[in-house]
C-alpha cells in the first residue's frame, strides 16, 4: 500500500513539476506577445496619454508574470501540499505593501516638502 502510494506520488510529481513541451511553448508564445506589445507601444509612442500607457504596460507585466509563474515555474495550488502557494501569497502581500507604501508615503513627503503655491501664498 505504501509502496503504491509512493509510486503514485512520484508519477504525479514527475509529471507536474517539469511541465510539458506544449506548456513551455504556450508560455513562450504568450510571453513573446505580452513583451512585444508594451515595447511596441512605448517605442512607437502609440499612446498619447502617458498615464493610460503606463497603466496598460503595468497590466501587461502583471499578466506576463502570471504566465511565467504558471507555465515556467509550474505554480499550482497543489504543489508541495499548498505550501508554495501560501508562501507566494504571503510574499505578494508583502511586496504590495512595501511598494505601494513606499511610493505613497514618499510621494506625499515630497509633495509636502516642496513649497507649493498655496503654501507660498500663506507666507508673510
Amino acid at each position: 500500500m505504501s509502496a503504491h502510494d509512493h509510486a503514485d506520488r512520484d508519477r504525479t510529481h514527475g509529471g507536474a513539476a517539469h511541465g510539458s513541451l506544449r506548456g513551455y511553448l504556450i508560455g513562450f508564445v504568450l510571453s513573446v506577445i505580452l513583451t512585444a506589445i508594451p515595447f511596441w507601444m512605448v517605442m512607437t509612442g502609440a499612446m498619447d496619454n502617458k498615464q493610460a500607457a503606463a497603466i496598460i504596460i503595468m497590466a501587461f507585466a502583471v499578466v506576463q508574470i502570471v504566465v511565467h509563474m504558471v507555465f515556467f515555474l509550474h505554480m499550482n495550488p497543489a504543489s508541495e501540499g499548498g505550501w508554495s502557494m501560501l508562501a507566494l501569497i504571503f510574499t505578494v502581500v508583502l511586496v504590495v505593501i512595501v511598494l505601494s507604501g513606499s511610493l505613497w508615503v514618499m510621494y506625499h513627503l515630497n509633495a509636502n516638502m516642496m513649497p507649493g503655491l498655496h503654501e507660498m501664498r500663506e507666507m508673510p
Binding site: H18, A54, F60, H68, F72, L88, L94, L99, L103
Partner: protein
C-alpha cells in the same frame, strides 16, 4: 540503584517507529522556493528604492537621454529564449538523455552570457557618458537594481557550469536532477524579475 529501578518501571516511549522515512532532498524544492520568495523581497526593496528615487536626476541625465529601448528589447529576447531553452533541458532531463540535456544547458548558458554582455556594454556606455552611479539618486538606484539582477544572472551561469560538470561526471543521478530543478526555478525566477525591470525601469522611464 534507585534510578535504575525507576527506568525499569517507566521506560520512556518516543514512538520513533511511527515517523516514516523522508527521502533525501524531499523538502529541497519547497526550501528553495522559500529562498526565492525571500530573494523576491530583496528585489521588492530595490524596486521601492528606485520608485522613490527614480525621478531625482540632480540635473543629470534622465532615462530618455540614456536608455536604448532597442537594446533592451534584444536583452529581453535573450533572457526569454534562455528561459525556454532551460525548459527544453528539463524536458530532455525527464527522458534521461544526458547529451541533449547538456546541449540545452549550454545553449541556455550562451543566451545568459549574451544577456550579460549586452547589459555590461550598456553600463559601460552609460558610465562613459558620465552617467555613473554617483551622478544622481536616479542612477544610484538604477545601477543597484539592474546590477543586482545582473549579479543573480552571473551566479546562475556559474551554477549552470558547475551542474554541467556534475552531470558530465556523474550523469543524471537523482541528486543532479534535484539540483537542475532548483536552478530551473532560479532561472525562471530571474526572468520574472526582469519583466518587472524592463516594465518599471525602462518602459516607464521612457514614458516619464
Amino acid at each position: 540503584m534507585a534510578s535504575s529501578a525507576i527506568t525499569a518501571v517507566a521506560e520512556p516511549v518516543f514512538h520513533l517507529e511511527e515517523e516514516h522515512a523522508h527521502a533525501e532532498g524531499g523538502s529541497t524544492m519547497l526550501g528553495f522556493w522559500l529562498y526565492l520568495m525571500s530573494d523576491c523581497l530583496i528585489f521588492a526593496m530595490l524596486f521601492a528604492a528606485y520608485g522613490v528615487l527614480g525621478g531625482n536626476y540632480a540635473a543629470g541625465p534622465a532615462p530618455k537621454d540614456l536608455f536604448d529601448l532597442g537594446l533592451v528589447a534584444v536583452n529581453t529576447t535573450m533572457l526569454l529564449l534562455s528561459s525556454i531553452t532551460y525548459g527544453f533541458a528539463m524536458l530532455t532531463m525527464d527522458k534521461g538523455r544526458v547529451g541533449a540535456t547538456q546541449a540545452w544547458l549550454a545553449v541556455t548558458m550562451l543566451f545568459g552570457l549574451a544577456f550579460l554582455s549586452i547589459e555590461l556594454s550598456e553600463f559601460a556606455h552609460m558610465i562613459q557618458e558620465g552617467a555613473t552611479p554617483q551622478r544622481s539618486a536616479f542612477l544610484s538606484s538604477f545601477f543597484t537594481l539592474v546590477g543586482t539582477h545582473g549579479l543573480h544572472v552571473t551566479f546562475g551561469i556559474v551554477w549552470m557550469v558547475t551542474l554541467m560538470v556534475q552531470v558530465a561526471r556523474h550523469g543524471l543521478i537523482e541528486a543532479n536532477r534535484r539540483r537542475l530543478m532548483c536552478l530551473s526555478m532560479f532561472w525562471h525566477f530571474l526572468d520574472v524579475v526582469w519583466i518587472g525591470v524592463f516594465t518599471f525601469v525602462y518602459l516607464m522611464g521612457m514614458l516619464r
